[in-house]
Amino acid sequence: MLYLIYASKEAAIERADEEGKELGFDYWIEDNGIGTRWLTYPAETADHMWALDVTNYDLDESEESSTVDHYTPLPDED
């Protein structure tokens, strides 16, 4: 798995939106706010950053050089 780490959830969602548009998900085609929007959704990390699974994303060179192969998730609540 490959992840990009973002400082904010908004920035991570912005990248997820970009990929969703690229993939032609229904949410973007019909522009009606329903249907699939993202391929993956960011998850909060233990240090309160946001990890986006980009394993199947079309990454540019800058992004490719910034990926990490793991992150530490927030601890389970149970």
Binding site: L23, T36, D78
Partner: protein, 400 residues
Amino acid sequence: MHVSLDSALGRQRRLNSVGESVLQIAPNAAAAYSLRSLTGGDPKVVRVRREIDNAESDFTAAGISSGALTSFVNDIQTVGTAVNGTGSFDNYTVSNLSNTGFSADNSAGGTGSAGFPYVFKDEDILIVKYTVTNFSSTASLSPQIRGVSATNSVTGKTNSGTAFTANGTYTDVLTATADGTHLMFADGNTGSYTISDFEIVSHSSSGFVETWYDQSGNSKDAVQATAESQPKIVSAGILVTEGGLLFNGDTNFFDIGSSISLGTEFFFTGVLNRNSRVDANGTIIGNDGGGGGNRAFINSSTNTIGIRDGDANIQSSLVPSDSSDSLISYQASASSFTFILNGTTNVKSALTGGQAFRYMGGGSGFNLSVNLKELIVYDTDQTANRTAIEANINSHYSIF
């Protein structure tokens, strides 16, 4: 308002009336999900995304049983105009390129490839048909079709088709082992041939549920807008083995948009077939986006159904089957809390912490690994209706 005799007498309902639906037996569900009609009509039940091109469509219960859903998922995509291989595999001289054929000459030798742009996904099954004419082998010419992920590669993302050595019409079944973009004929020997009448006979693909519609009338549709978190409903062209929605125990879950407060008096029932576990203590229903917290779950150590209430786990002795459907119910009343599995009860003390329902199948964690066929949630005590509701469900699924 209709009041049954049993209800008027304060007794538990024992029987369904003929033809009565679950929501006619106990109409005040807070949320109700199934692939069958729970209302007696033909309600919209799911919105499905087909994997091959991400198109989506809504389906009613009749649309599932009629095969309309699987037809939608297995829609044959457009075949592109034939192309030559590139990079190390451009040794063919190609001509007469169309979306049904081409002519290839490999007199110069080296591995050549030519074929058609056509997108397929991992686990898809394609049946292709084509006619070979003008076959002329100089030295052991024996091209084969296969799915690839680029024109500069002949590495198969499907199995290979017939290695043809003569004119004729051929039909091949190609099963994908990864995503791909082209169906290419390739060979390293010399000679020439013409492909014509190329067609995709069938394309069996996968479909995922974006929305599981609420049939209760309360618009608590269960939605998953993230593709990789959507449960699967069609795999390799057919409804998933074991039926219902396949939650993968890793990333799949639904969000109903806002919480339904269940408190300490509620009832919910569902039909599920437990699968191999991935996440620990997978959530059936809960109220935490992380998937954990106070919730109904399946204990992954004991395989028993349980509930986390007041931040403490209450475990039943009941183990849903991992090879057939189980009917599970959670009945919370003022005086007691009862787990029910296929009609067998396991009674505990009344809940004190209180529950709420927003997420189904987990969240960012605690993902449930089941085929889930039906889930009906009441935010009220349904002790009086419980056996009638379960009898209705059992009569449909023939569980016990």
